[in-house]
């Protein structure tokens, strides 16, 4: 198991390090003409999609949990502790 994890870390680093070097090196090259508005607002909308997706999933999960495991739900079963009456 340790060997697998070690191999995973080493191979991960072998992939990540060249990518990081490549990306950092790109910072020295002159840039191309672009429209800041398009880039920045595009990023904003993409991140808002992620934020709202996470928000929907999290709040949906909480609502489902509250409804499904409420005491008055017909499907609710007492836990083993509640069933036996001992803790």
């Amino acid at each position: 198991m340790k060997a697998i994890i070690g191999l995973g870390i080493v191979s991960g680093l072998l992939l990540i390090l060249p990518a990081v070097r490549y990306v950092l090196a790109a910072g020295d090259e002159p840039g191309e003409y672009l429209d800041r508005r398009v880039e920045i607002w595009g990023l904003f909308y993409r991140l808002m999609i992620v934020a709202f997706t996470i928000g929907t999933v999290v709040s949906g999960t909480i609502v489902w949990l509250v409804l499904r495991f409420r005491e008055s739900n017909p499907k609710a079963k007492p836990t083993s502790y509640e069933d036996s009456g001992t803790w």
Binding site: V23, E29, P30, R36, L47
Partner: protein, 143 residues
Amino acid sequence: MSGHSSWPEWVYIGVVVALLCYVGAEAWNIERIIEHVPADAEIIKVTGQQWLWTFEHEDGTKEIGELHVEKGKAYKFEITSKDVIHSFNIHDYVVLLDAVPGRVNTVWFSPTDAGEFPIQCREYCGLIHYNMRATLFVEDKGA
């Protein structure tokens, strides 16, 4: 705990971590892309002081309270301040950077539309901060 399956939790954690990685990587990448200044960008020195903006072009031309640029050309702003911290903002072109005394901050943009656009200080800098404005005039080439 016995009788408890934790795989949905691991899936949940994995998805959240993946999304966070995506958010970080995407934001970092866009920031990197927009910070690359084109080689032929003209440098404009921007100086903020209570409560006006001064601009100096590469050829030495100075402007106070207004800035004339050419449509489609790249401009690199070198922004500083003479007194307190200001913030240089051209809202319509999403340009926003602090003007800090003793420090030169840079940002570049390339105007795509001709017209007049407001420039405004976005860091509270004193009594007349609200009126520390200038106007950006984007003109067609040869106009």
